[in-house]
């Protein structure tokens, strides 16, 4: 048994700065760029301490100028640097979408492999905090529409550090979604040298009746649903995908071979959500593994409303997942 008193705990928020700082220390080509990330420490306090430790030559404050940020990161990435660019809210990716849709993911391919773009785009994603329609969206599915981007979305502090290490060291562009609703959450701190490879899902909880595939904030949501359903004798296996590209379907299929039932719980809208890609692969390649229909618990197809009661009606909740599992078990 581990001695619980010796396990160092930290917040998801502090893990972001820790993960970036570790890479700034080990590689002089890593450089940070974004709005309010320097002296201010980031509007979400996810870059606290970086400016103090590494200085203005490594941590660059920018104007509110998302295209300038993304273009600078891209140009620096193709000329020997490893930029870590912050787009403050993921909703603002739309202000520089050209770079994520047309430029960064295509530069290597359309030049026949001449260009390499090793950069990370960090962004605060997701709802649950009452920020309204333009500061609450889960837009990981936007990135998934574009071949050529790797996509990470950690759910725990140690995964934040481990995936950040892989993202910054990757020679491919990575969009790194930090969930706003998880910033205050706590978990074990990452040990020194901690690296989580891109594209390796984690079985967050073992179970036998239903496979629940989750990402970022829907992982703790699924774990809470699993705890609630345990009392009813229903056993959920919760898979934390960690990344959407590369997508670890091998772990999903491994779990389905035990459970034969699949629910995907995703915070982006049902229309065009990443769960649709996961379930379409299962329908194509794993139909015979299933004993029941596939269910998706996703956000409703409306803009995110402001009031808590309305927002909770729109985004996935523990209650919605519990109900979906119960209906599936009675199929």
């Amino acid at each position: 048994m581990a001695d619980l008193t010796s396990v160092q705990m930290t917040t998801y928020r502090d893990a972001v700065a820790d993960g970036i700082a570790r890479e700034l220390r080990r590689d002089p080509t890593v450089v940070c760029i974004g709005e309010d990330i320097g002296k201010a420490g980031g509007v979400f306090k996810t870059t606290v301490g970086l400016f103090e430790e590494f200085g203005a030559g490594r941590v660059w404050d920018t104007p509110i100028s998302e295209q300038a940020i993304m273009g600078a990161a891209m140009g620096a990435a193709m000329t020997g640097m490893r930029p870590v660019a912050e787009i403050m809210f993921s909703d603002f990716l739309a202000c520089c979408w050209d770079y994520l849709a047309n430029e960064i993911p295509k530069a290597r391919y359309m030049t026949g492999g001449q260009l390499t773009v090793p950069l990370v785009v960090r962004t605060a994603n997701g709802g649950g905090l009452g920020f309204g329609a333009q500061h609450s969206q889960s837009v990981e599915n936007w990135a998934l529409t574009v071949p050529g981007l790797k996509i990470a979305a950690p759910s725990t502090p140690s995964d934040v550090v481990g995936l950040m290490a892989s993202a910054i060291r990757s020679d491919d562009p990575v969009v790194f979604f930090e969930h706003k609703g998880l910033f205050a959450s706590k978990g074990e701190a990452a040990p020194p040298g901690h690296v989580v490879p891109l594209g390796e899902a984690r079985v967050a909880r073992e179970g036998s009746d239903v496979t629940v595939v989750a990402l970022a904030a829907t992982v703790p949501l699924a774990l809470a649903a699993a705890a609630e359903l345990e009392g009813d004798g229903i056993s959920l296996e919760v898979i934390d995908l960690r990344c959407l590209v590369p997508l670890d379907m091998a772990t999903v299929f491994g779990s389905l071979s035990k459970s034969s039932r699949l629910i995907v719980v995703e915070e982006n809208p049902y229309q065009g959500g990443w769960g649709a890609t996961v379930v379409s692969i299962v329908a194509d390649e794993g139909f015979e593994m299933l004993d029941a229909p596939i269910r998706r618990v996703a956000s409703e197809n409306v803009p995110l409303p402001f009031a808590d009661a309305l927002e909770q009606r729109v985004i996935p909740t523990v209650d919605k997942l519990v109900e979906a599992v119960r209906r599936l078990m009675s199929y």
């Binding site: 450089v31 030559g57 660059w60 920018t62 104007p63 100028s65 295209q67 300038a68 940020i69 993304m70 273009g71 600078a72 990161a73 891209m74 140009g75 620096a76 990435a77 193709m78 000329t79 020997g80 640097m81 930029p83 050209d98 770079y99 047309n102 430029e103 530069a107 290597r108 391919y109 359309m110 030049t111 026949g112 492999g113 001449q114 260009l115 390499t116 090793p118 071949p147 050529g148 990757s170 020679d171 491919d172 594209g199 590209v245 590369p246 997508l247 670890d248 379907m249 091998a250 692969i281």
Partner: protein, 333 residues
């Protein structure tokens, strides 16, 4: 805005620039002819008429400097080291194309010569040039970056975002507008708030804006030399607006009938090759010497065209390479 003045260059240097311009002109004409024969696919945006901007700028740069171009970028690729054969092969979907036939006319790139791409979303590469300049500054290399763009790009957000950040960070970057008077089919003057769409915007971003005769390779070289020296010595960015003219329409399907005939006539008389040839003669070069340069350029282009036509077609298997840095395209396990 500052005035620019012509400085005398060595006749042999000017002859070399003339020959480079003749190679580019010949390659553009070859691309046009091959297109009419059905051998060039997709679209092309020919840069015939713009050669002096590419060659004059390139002559002012170091080999390790960075260049970013637009979808009208054949001249910049060739001026920075791409071969006419590699470019024509790319246009003809051949395996030997500079981008393995995965880019096409709008994306010619020669990264090993610092020509870091041709970009087909208007204005997108100006912030990228900032990034390359920022990187040079971070690495302490004294390299500079140049972004070439058309007059149409001066009204898009990325242009304005790029100029501001370049000035704030005092980046070693030069923004070179090739003002050919038409934003695709529309006169730029009819959709722009100031007479000089690029240079007039420089002051608002705290940097010099310079107008230059973009059909005079010596004037371009001299103006760019000043801007490059300013950037290289850490004195910040410059906007250079080069006045020039397209010899063809916007793209392959455009006969450019919207341009007044007298305007076309006036600019064709000021063809950058004609201007350079006249200056060579003024400098005392013989007609035979200049004709010999034309002949060498014609042979380079003819040989390139033959080789490109004879090259193997692109291998369909290449569709699944070069997505990721490991060379592959795998997106799941």
């Amino acid at each position: 805005m500052t005035e620019n003045t012509i400085e005398r260059v060595a006749t042999s240097t000017l002859l070399d620039w003339y020959e480079q311009m003749a190679v580019i002109r010949g390659t553009e004409k070859a691309a046009h002819d091959l297109f009419l024969r059905g051998l060039v696919k997709g679209t092309t945006h020919l840069a015939a008429g713009h050669e002096a901007v590419a060659v004059g700028t390139s002559a002012a740069l170091r080999p390790d400097d960075y260049v970013f171009a637009t979808y009208r970028g054949h001249h910049h690729a060739i001026a920075r080291g791409a071969t006419p054969e590699g470019c024509l092969a790319e246009l003809m979907q051949k395996a030997t194309g500079v981008c393995k036939a995965k880019g096409g006319s709008m994306h010619l790139t020669q990264a090993d010569h610092g020509m870091l791409g041709s970009y087909a979303i208007v204005g997108a590469h100006l912030p990228m040039a900032n990034g390359a300049a920022w990187s040079a500054k971070l690495r302490g290399t004294t390299q500079v970056a140049v972004a070439f763009f058309g007059d149409g790009a001066t009204n898009i957000g990325a242009f304005h975002e790029a100029l501001n950040l370049a000035a704030v960070w005092k980046l070693p970057v030069i923004f070179v507008c090739e003002n050919n008077r038409y934003m695709e089919y529309t006169p730029i003057a009819s959709v722009t708030s100031v007479p000089n769409p690029a240079a007039d915007r420089a002051a608002a971003n705290g940097m010099p804006g310079v107008l230059v005769d973009g059909n005079d390779v010596v004037a371009v070289h001299d103006t760019m030399s000043v801007a490059v020296e300013r950037a290289r010595s850490d004195n910040g960015p410059t906007v250079v607006e080069a006045l020039t003219y397209r010899h063809f329409g916007h793209s392959r399907t455009d006969p450019a009938t919207y341009r007044p005939p007298e305007e076309v006539e006036e600019w064709m008389a000021r063809d950058p090759l004609t201007v350079a040839r006249q200056r060579l003669l003024d400098f005392g070069a013989s007609r035979e010497v200049v004709d010999a340069a034309d002949a060498r350029a014609a042979e380079v282009v003819a040989s390139a065209s033959r080789a490109a036509q004879d090259a193997p077609a692109a291998d369909p298997a290449q569709a699944f390479t070069d997505v990721w840095a490991d060379g592959g395209a795998a997106w799941r396990t």
